[in-house]
């Protein structure tokens, strides 16, 4: 009895949650010869992990900030887990979408006859563990450690196919992510340590008054370009390159876990290292936010030119990540909007990727121009795609509206009319590159010879798509939970 209570203590739950997927990875390796058993391990672990996150969320909502020091490699700079509202949001998203993606992945990997499935599911579980580590990180140093581990653990998933193209994509992936993190982010980290003597996350920041505004501006730039996972142009190329991976990887890791780890880091830096007020006062902030705005618009424009569905979605992600990066620069309301956008974009984009994968498995199509008339053959997939697209655009009745609402409010509060216009134009561009896809599928007259015989995607894929697309709508009606967490973070 006491032992079980100890195990359920929030401080202990965090490492337990991190270790469970690692144990699962080992079990997946062991049960590799029996695919059904292997998949059972994945599903059960992912559900347990999500269920264990719920008491943690309750703890955080009631004001608790469970903390656990794992080791202290440097004096005063421990490897530390601390759960706070922003991390809770990220952990819940990753923890909720892992079981769903697992259901989807089983259907996809089997339907698509992928090789090395044991390795795939093993590495996937490890990547989830590291992602949750990012969410639980109690200081910037720990966050950096998990950030780097995330790059390394997802690299073999990107290169899963083992082909020359996958290898080249892997080089771009690793080159940009490791390159920016070592050259800029690590420098920023050591510099921060040098200035502030700590890397703890303290509400209001730790850098106020430690250096001249000009120096802090350089530091801010180092952070924003050092977090390559946020895919701020010109360090965005790794994300389209990563699309060579199997679709479940693109869906959960490269639309949610990895990219959100990037913008999550930026939100944390903004909130707990610089402090929103300090950032607003820096001379470089305006310049940087215009740069982000340019990244948002350019990525949208590039997305319009892409005929490959996954590539278009990748550029759409780059553009959407810009929203959150922008939020990190726009004070507390911006951070609130950015945090909500992590949630809304996660559900919207994962739906779109699920749909893209379903189309690939069912119809073997990758190009948008080949989709004419497919809507009638795959109505569930394309209906879900439409809902996901609406949420990305930010239209009711989908959750995407709320995050965009707060982001727009933040631009008004800071009197940044250019940024306001950017967000509005970007929404129009979203419509232009996303909605034609389902319109084409439903209304364009396809070549009946080519679409003949095509059926809906595997059932497991459809279940996953349905859940995420329904969530997009549900978030419109019930955003309170996430709003509460996000506003706790900025309060």
């Amino acid at each position: 009895m006491i032992a079980s209570e100890m195990l359920m203590a929030p401080e202990i739950l965090m490492p337990v949650i991190l270790v469970l997927p690692v144990i699962a990875a080992i079990l997946i390796r062991v049960t590799g010869n029996n695919p059904n058993l292997r998949e059972t391990v994945t599903l059960i672990t992912s559900v347990i992990v999500f269920l264990l996150l719920i008491p943690l969320a309750a703890e955080v909502l009631s004001g608790g900030r469970p903390t656990l020091i794992l080791a202290e490699p440097f004096p005063g700079m421990p490897l530390q887990l601390t759960l706070e509202p922003l991390g809770m949001i990220f952990a819940l998203i990753a923890g909720f979408l892992w079981p769903i993606t697992s259901i989807y992945a089983i259907g996809y990997m089997r339907g698509h006859h992928e090789e090395n499935q044991t390795r795939f599911f093993m590495l996937f579980a490890l990547a989830i563990s590291v992602t949750l580590g990012v969410a639980f990180s109690g200081n910037l140093f720990t966050l950096f450690v998990f950030y780097e581990l995330l790059t390394l653990s997802t690299y073999p998933l990107v290169t899963h196919a083992g082909t020359e193209a996958a290898r080249k994509a892997g080089r771009v992936y690793l080159g940009i992510l490791i390159g920016t993190s070592v050259a800029f982010l690590l420098l920023a980290l050591i510099w921060t340590w040098f200035l502030a003597g700590t890397l703890d996350f303290i509400p209001g920041g730790i850098l106020e008054g430690t250096a001249s505004p000009a120096m802090l501006s350089v530091l801010l730039l180092l952070f924003f370009f050092g977090v390559g996972k946020a895919a701020l142009m010109p360090f965005h190329r790794w994300l389209p390159a990563a699309m060579v991976a199997p679709t479940p990887v693109s869906a959960l890791l490269h639309a949610v876990a990895v990219v959100k780890a990037g913008v999550f880091t930026l939100l944390k830096v903004s909130l707990y290292i610089f402090g929103p007020e300090l950032i607003l006062g820096l001379p470089v902030t305006e310049f940087l936010s215009y740069l982000v705005a340019a990244s948002i618009l350019l990525a949208s424009l590039v997305a319009m030119t892409k005929n490959n569905l996954k590539a278009r979605l990748a550029y759409s992600t780059i553009s959407q990540l810009g929203y959150i990066t922008l939020g990190a620069l726009l004070g507390v309301t911006g951070i609130l909007g950015g945090s909500l956008h992590i949630v809304m974009h996660a559900f919207g984009k994962i739906t779109l990727f699920f749909a893209a994968g379903a189309i690939l498995v069912a119809a073997h199509k990758t190009q948008i121009s080949q989709l004419d008339g497919l809507g009638r053959r795959m109505p569930v997939t394309f209906a879900a795609f439409t809902l996901g697209a609406l949420s990305i655009i930010g239209l009711p009745p989908t959750g995407g509206m709320w995050s965009k609402w707060y982001l727009l409010q933040a631009t008004l509060e800071t009197h940044q009319l250019v940024l306001l216009a950017t967000l509005l134009i970007s929404s129009l561009l979203n419509i232009a590159y996303l909605l034609p896809i389902p319109l084409r599928a439903f209304f364009a007259k396809g070549n009946t010879d080519q679409t003949a015989g095509i059926q809906e995607a595997p059932l497991l894929c459809l279940i996953a798509i349905s859940i995420t697309s329904v969530m997009c709508v549900a978030l419109f009606f019930f955003p309170q939970f996430w709003y509460e967490l996000a506003s706790m973070a900025v309060r």
Binding site: A71, P73, F74, P75, L79, F141, F144, V145, E148, L149, L152, P156, T159, G162, R167, R171, L174, G175, I178, G179, V182, A183, L186, L187, I190, W191, W193, F194
Partner: protein
């Protein structure tokens, strides 16, 4: 009785064991002796470090002749730490040696290998313990001569030219050191290091002292393979037997760095070396060149042993960069990297020995498909490589953290950026191996490769494990490096 004589036994035991190993004639017996001696010296150096950290420096008068007249063995925080590095590496390498040496060296030459190893160990330990400047030269020659033998035992015939090249360069270096020591003896009339330091303090204007300084700077730089005096190193590491490469790569340049620290910090004093003489700026420039030249050349190597050899040149650059700041943090970074690099490079060279054992070579082509056939060896290489790159939770990260911090403390922004950019070059040459091992299929008709035996894997993983462990728990290494750095900066500055 034994406890009091530990500093002497540290050197005497391997020295006496060396001829014994030759007389045993059988490779297996010589190996047992060498292993035993290595373990004993590990125990001695560990107890010495404990004694020094708890109760301060130990002075031992050789033959009862009191310093400064007799030869003094003096163990303080810094050389106790280096002794530990050398004897740890010696022990782990000897654990792996039986299998690898039996495969690479003819039976009748095996006892010769262990004899040379024991001599080299005695020499390296001797250089480190002695408090006598001329004695440093004597042990330097012992270790160098035995190193030439170790290198020439390589099965490739190019090992002979490599050994000869090293002989020439090494002798030049040793001669420069001898001239430097001779000039110092001429001006101060003493060979005891502490005595010398005290008498040198008022002589900073002396031309002779400055000339001695220059000779020692060049001599030690040659020995520690500071760019552009590194030319002997790549061939020596490449063609030596795998075990010799592993032992030398992890120890000999480290000991040379120690000698340099001793001369410039303890004897000349930090003020003379870095304020009166422009050592800081010279070392900084050469160190940065070493980092970039070494890493860039490493990228284009086809033989992985040579690749790691050039990487070693770059890593020496990191150590010397830390030294060039002549600050507490800079020295901590340098001394930490001494230890950390010994762990990761030792582990990597042992893994290469396993690759060589199983595939018969160490070129990139030998690595194709090893991800599947030798998973444990390859995983060790990947982890060691990540440590070279400086990924967090590895020792490489710890060194890099302190090094960049030291640069920022001095306000050397460009240097901090260059250090980080340099570590990105390591990504490229390590990833060459990763791609060959995990993405390329072995050549058609190549022999089927099996995972290396446990006798090679275990020692490899001891060092690789250490390079992870000490990346997470830095208590021992950082505190030892901090007290060593404080000792180096403390003596010489104050009268």
């Amino acid at each position: 009785m034994i406890a009091a004589n530990l500093p002497a036994l540290q050197v005497v035991i391997p020295l006496l064991a060396a001829p014994l190993a030759l007389m045993l004639r059988r490779g297996s017996l010589s190996h047992l002796l060498a292993l035993l001696v290595s373990v004993v010296s590990l125990l001695i150096s560990y107890s010495l470090l404990q004694a020094v950290l708890t109760s301060g420096p130990i002075s031992y008068a050789m033959g009862g002749w009191e310093p400064p007249w007799g030869i003094e063995y003096r163990v303080d925080a810094i050389n106790a730490f280096v002794l530990l590095i050398v004897s740890v590496i010696g022990t782990v390498v000897m654990l792996a040696a039986r299998t690898s040496v039996a495969a690479e060296i003819q039976e009748k030459k095996q006892s010769l290998f262990y004899t040379a190893y024991l001599l080299c160990l005695a020499g390296l330990l001797g250089i480190t313990t002695t408090g006598d400047a001329f004695n440093v030269f004597v042990f330097l020659e012992i270790s160098s001569l035995s190193t030439y033998i170790l290198v020439s035992l390589g099965r490739d015939r190019r090992a002979l030219t490599a050994a000869f090249q090293y002989l020439i360069m090494g002798t030049i270096g040793a001669t420069f050191i001898l001239i430097g020591v001779g000039l110092l003896y001429m001006t101060t009339g003493t060979l005891n290091m502490l005595d010398m330091a005290a008498r040198l303090a008022p002589l900073t204007d002396s031309r002779t002292v400055q000339a001695a300084f220059a000779f020692l700077a060049v001599g030690t730089s040659l020995k520690l393979a500071l760019f552009p005096l590194h030319l002997w190193l790549p061939n020596a590491y490449t063609y030596a037997p795998s075990m010799a490469s592993a032992f030398l790569a992890a120890t000999s340049t480290k000991v040379a760095v120690y000698v340099m620290l001793r001369f410039f910090f303890t004897i000349f004093g930090v003020e003379f070396s870095f304020d009166v003489m422009p050592l800081g700026i010279i070392f900084m420039a050469l160190a940065l060149l070493a980092i970039f030249a070494g890493s860039l050349v490493a990228i284009f190597q086809d033989n992985v042993k040579r690749l790691l050899a050039y990487s070693s040149i770059a890593q020496v650059g990191y150590m010397m960069l830390g030294v060039s700041f002549a600050t507490q943090t800079g020295l901590v970074a340098a001394i930490l990297h001494l230890f950390n690099h010994a762990m990761m490079k030792g582990g990597l060279f042992l893994a290469l020995a396993a690759v060589c054992y199983s595939t018969g070579g160490t070129s990139i082509a030998n690595f194709r498909g090893l991800g599947k056939t030798m998973p444990w060896t390859m995983m060790a290489i990947v982890l060691g490589g990540l440590s070279l790159i400086g990924v967090p939770l590895t020792v490489g990260f710890v060194s890099k953290w302190y090094l960049v911090l030291a640069a920022l403390e001095q306000g050397y922004w460009p240097v901090a950026v260059l250090v980080l950019l340099g570590s990105l070059l390591a990504v490229i040459y390590i990833w060459k191996l990763v791609e060959a091992a995990y993405f390329q299929a072995p050549d058609e008709g190549a022999v089927v490769v099996k995972e290396a035996p446990l006798s090679l894997l275990l020692p490899t993983w001891i060092l690789i494990g250490a390079s992870i462990y000490f990346g997470i728990d830095t208590n021992l290494t950082v505190s030892a490096a901090e007290s060593a750095a404080a000792a180096l900066l403390g003596t010489g500055v104050q009268p």
